[in-house]
Amino acid sequence: MDDAAFTDEVIRLAGDEIRTCIQCGTCSSSCSTAHLMDNSIRRLIRLVLEGRRDEALSSDSIWLCTSCLLCTVRCPRGIRPKAVVSALRQIYEREGLRNRDEAFERIFMDQIRNKGRISEVLLSAAYALRNPDATVPIMEMGIELITKGKVSLDPGTVKGMDEVRRIFEGLEND
């Protein structure tokens, strides 16, 4: 995909208001995770409009968005920056550029498939087994949380597992 085609695709997915961006920074200064991002949401939109595909897709920022939508509510041009992030995620995955937290996602999805919800403890534990170096710092916090009753070891199963199964079947058939 060439650069202009990349811009066009993001615009198709996220709306042609993007072309009217005035780079005012309302989105990035409204963003709760802006301080963690390598490229602010504002800059991400600039990268998209300039067709800088590789820079945009390799940016951490697209995985740090919490979908709080404050950017979208406040944008004075009616742009949906969150939709831009979603579009970039979609292109990223379609292109086979796997998310580096792929393992995490798989564990996450398995738990949902089996129980209809996740258990923070089991999720963290399963993920820690694959990334032993990240285990120590989270164990401390885990113990603290368990002793305070903030997380439980067995979250149980949701009602309506049939429906959960149907959702998964539906997704997998897509």
């Binding site: 005012c24 920074g25 990035s28 802006a34 602010s40 004075p76 009616g78």
Partner: protein, 793 residues
């Protein structure tokens, strides 16, 4: 035949235009052809018809051959129609007894490579002109007396400027202002950019001049209730509200009465920062200098009446109705500030130290609530750090205001400078998206602000939060690429300008249109800056959009000058080329009322066209379902005669009849000619005033007579000379296409196109495309033959 039953005698003059026409067209052949046409008693070919010699030939022919009508086959009527109208008037004919055949711009210049076909086309154009000329009627331009008085609505700086110019030129002016004083927002401002003059110091003399001028009747605290009539005679009804103070007795001392008044309310002239009494004077320089009692606040204690040394307080004062008869109206109803509390993330209304532009203007004003000190309203202490937040309620689609308010950059630059000059140690920052300093001396003003040490931070503020020690402003410095937070003592929201909601009544009484930004629309966004769509109504100042003081003053003067042009002679000439109603035929369906963009038609039992308002577009005539509306020029029978003459020979295939609007498409076709853009000879163009004039019967007649296609071309959508005629044309074409489909004619034979006067190339290309499309469709009627049972074999 003319009215007397005599067959009209027509003279035809074919112009060589040097070689401009004669090099391509066989002008002698054209002359010989013209001689054979019905009613033509003399035909000549002339080197330059517009020369004195050419005009004299026409004049002597009119006398010698007793001509009733003249056809000039030459250049575009948009160029020389006025010339030849003058010629025949001098020869004793009515000026409307002229028809032109456009054989230069729309023939010789655009078909230079096909002289034979071009000559055939020119013959058709001449035959069409002669057919129309036989049906021309003399039309008299009627003059009607008008009132030379002018109503100016709104006493802000634009209205003041208009009123003074009119009065100084000797016209009587009624200046109506809804507030107790004139002066508008300008009277409340501190110094004004780019000179940093004291606002009231430069305005107050003008306000006093209004009061003193014997030609101006000033009506403050008054409102307009009804407006009837049209240009020259608007009948206006209004009311002056009671102030409960006799203006002839009040001395304007104000301290006596308001000192006695026990009631304090927030002062709207300080935008809520200060307080005033129930009996008050809006500003110290109020004009008229008369107190006013606010009945919403007054408790009726009677103390002011006791205190007044002049016995001016009159509790029994009544509202007074007034009636005016004016020839023109100037709408200078101004603007209203954006309500900053709508931007919740900035905390206006919640945090006391968040203020608006108008509040900081009042704070900076030596006569304002803080006597010129810049304080934190929460503590009353002098603010040491001040942030201006730009574009609050402007350039913001979330509040429905996508437009730039145009003055806020400059007013913040100015206020920041004033603060920095008064408090050199203060930290003053302007948070902006773009600084717009376009105007004489404006960029220099920006440089001055930068030199004073004001900080400019590029990035729109996302939110303001109140902390224990001040206000925290969140923003991204987009030039550094860093999201930041900074503490300030005071935050000034640079609020934008909105259309004045209080002016909506006046707008609907007059029938003014409004733009999507809700400001009043002017007749042309570029070329007619102070005219409304309604004749005799002018718009000045911020009523038609945000503007600076100097532009508002210029517009006030411009509107005054337009009103003077209209009324100075005491009579106006009515253009006779208007619509009229055959009351026998009219069924009173009112379809025409909604169609008319000039609001010229009213219906009681039958429709009535106000000829003073009608602009002659003819959209009503095309819309009338019973053909009860007719045009005095461009009449149905004239246009149908042109169609019949065009299709009489049909010397080409495919054959197209085109209807082009005078203002854009016909002018575009002329431009194609002057630019020598070549296109096929297949089209015969009929000039109409508006695409909306094209009656469905014209299209059907053309197709019935063997035209293979019909082209209707008008101004681009949104640019119609008559506002909405092209939209009506579009709507009609859609319906007509359905009808064609039903009777078995391919709807693609009818084409509608938009073409600006600057788009000769586009029009030429559209004609080319249409010719190709029609070649594919085959001659008209092919589809009917194909649909016959035998046609299937």
């Amino acid at each position: 035949m003319d009215q007397s039953g005599r067959t009209p005698r027509i003279g035809v003059y074919i112009c060589h235009c040097g070689l401009n026409i004669a090099a391509t067209l066989d002008v002698e052949e054209l002359r010989r052809f013209a001689e054979t046409l019905p009613n033509v008693v003399v035909a000549r070919d002339i080197q330059f018809t517009c020369s004195d010699a050419g005009q004299n030939t026409i004049k002597s022919d009119v006398a010698e051959h007793k001509l009733d009508a003249v056809v000039v086959a030459a250049c575009s009527p948009r160029l020389h129609e006025p010339t030849f109208r003058r010629t025949i008037t001098e020869a004793g004919l009515n000026q409307y007894m002229l028809e032109m055949a456009n054989i230069r711009e729309q023939c010789s210049w655009v078909h230079m490579d096909s002289p034979a076909l071009a000559t055939q086309k020119a013959k058709d154009l001449i035959a069409m002109a002669v057919a129309k000329a036989a049906l021309l009627r003399p039309l008299e331009t009627e003059s009607v007396p008008v009132s030379r008085d002018v109503l100016v609505i709104g006493g802000g700086v634009a209205g003041i400027s208009a009123a003074l110019d009119l009065a100084n030129a000797g016209l009587r002016v009624y200046l109506v202002e809804r507030r107790p004083t004139i002066g508008g927002y300008m009277a409340l401002l501190t110094d004004v950019f780019p000179t940093n003059d004291c606002s009231i110091c430069v305005l107050a003399p003008k306000m006093a001049e209004v009061y003193a001028n014997p030609m101006i009747k000033l009506m403050t605290y008054s409102e307009i209730l009804a407006i009837e009539g049209t240009v020259g005679h608007f009948r206006v009804t209004g009311v002056t509200k009671p102030r409960y103070v006799d203006p002839s007795l009040c001395k304007g001392c104000i301290n006596e009465c308001s000192g006695a008044c026990p009631v304090e309310v927030p002062n709207e002239y300080d935008f809520g920062l200060g307080k005033r009494k129930a009996i008050y004077m809006a500003i110290p320089q109020s004009v008229p200098l008369v107190a006013c009692i606010d009945t919403n606040a007054c408790i009726g204690c009677g103390l002011c009446a006791e205190a007044c040394p002049a016995d001016a307080v009159k509790y029994d004062q009544q509202a007074e109705e007034f009636k005016l008869d004016v020839g023109a109206i100037i709408v200078a109803t101004g603007w209203q500030p954006f309500d900053a509390s709508r931007k919740e993330e900035y905390g206006f209304g919640r945090y006391r130290d968040v203020v608006t532009t108008l509040q900081i203007e009042r704070m900076l004003n030596a006569a304002g609530p803080t006597r010129g000190d810049i304080v934190r309203p929460s503590t009353g202490e002098i603010a040491k750090s001040i942030a201006f937040i730009q574009c609050v309620g402007s350039r913001d689609q979330t509040v429905g205001n996508p437009y730039c308010s145009r003055i806020c950059c400059m007013s913040s630059l100015k206020n920041a400078q004033l603060i920095k000059e008064r408090y050199p140690d203060a930290d003053v920052a302007i948070h902006y998206i773009d600084i717009r300093a376009g105007g004489e001396g404006y960029e220099e003003f920006y440089i001055r602000a930068q030199r004073l040490g004001i900080r400019f931070i590029r990035g729109r503020v996302s939110s303001v939060e109140e902390g224990e020690d001040g206000l925290y402003v969140h923003y991204e410095d987009t030039l550094l690429g860093k999201t930041l937070m900074k503490r300030y003592d005071l935050v000034v929201l640079s609020t934008g300008l909105e259309a004045n909601r209080d002016a909506e009544v006046v707008g609907s009484l007059l029938g003014l249109s409004r733009r999507p930004d809700r400001f009043f629309e002017i007749a042309h966004p570029k070329m007619r800056p102070v005219e409304a769509h309604i004749d005799g109504v002018f718009i000045a100042g911020c009523a038609s959009g945000p503007k600076e003081i100097q532009v508002s003053i210029a517009q006030g003067s411009a509107a005054a000058s337009k009103a003077m042009q209209l009324l100075f002679k005491g009579e106006i000439e009515l253009d006779p080329t208007v619509a009229f109603v055959d009351r026998e035929k009219c069924i009173g369906c009112k379809l025409c009322v909604d169609t008319c963009p000039s609001r010229a038609i009213s219906v009681k039992d039958t429709a009535f066209v106000d000829e003073a308002r009608c602009k002659g577009c003819g959209t009503c005539a095309a819309a009338c379902p019973v053909d009860a509306i007719e045009m005095r020029l461009f009449s149905d029978e004239q246009i149908l005669a042109q169609i019949r003459a065009a299709t009489a020979v049909k010397g080409e295939y495919p054959f197209i009849v085109g209807f082009l609007c005078n203002w854009c498409s016909y002018a575009g076709a002329d431009l194609a000619g002057t630019s020598r853009i070549q296109y096929p000879t297949n089209i015969r163009i009929i000039r109409v005033m508006c695409a909306g004039r094209v009656d469905p019967s014209f299209v059907l007649e053309a197709l019935r007579r063997g035209a293979d296609g019909v082209l209707i071309a008008g101004c681009r959508i949104g640019e119609c000379h008559y506002v909405s005629g092209n939209l009506h044309a579009l709507q009609r074409v859609e319906v007509l296409k359905g009808l064609l489909r039903e009777i078995g004619i391919d709807p693609r034979r009818l084409k509608i196109a938009w073409c600006a006067a600057s788009e000769g190339d586009i029009l030429a290309r559209k004609i080319e495309e249409f010719v190709d499309e029609l070649k594919d469709l085959g001659p008209v009627g092919t589809e009917l033959v194909a649909a016959l049972p035998s046609g299937k074999d």
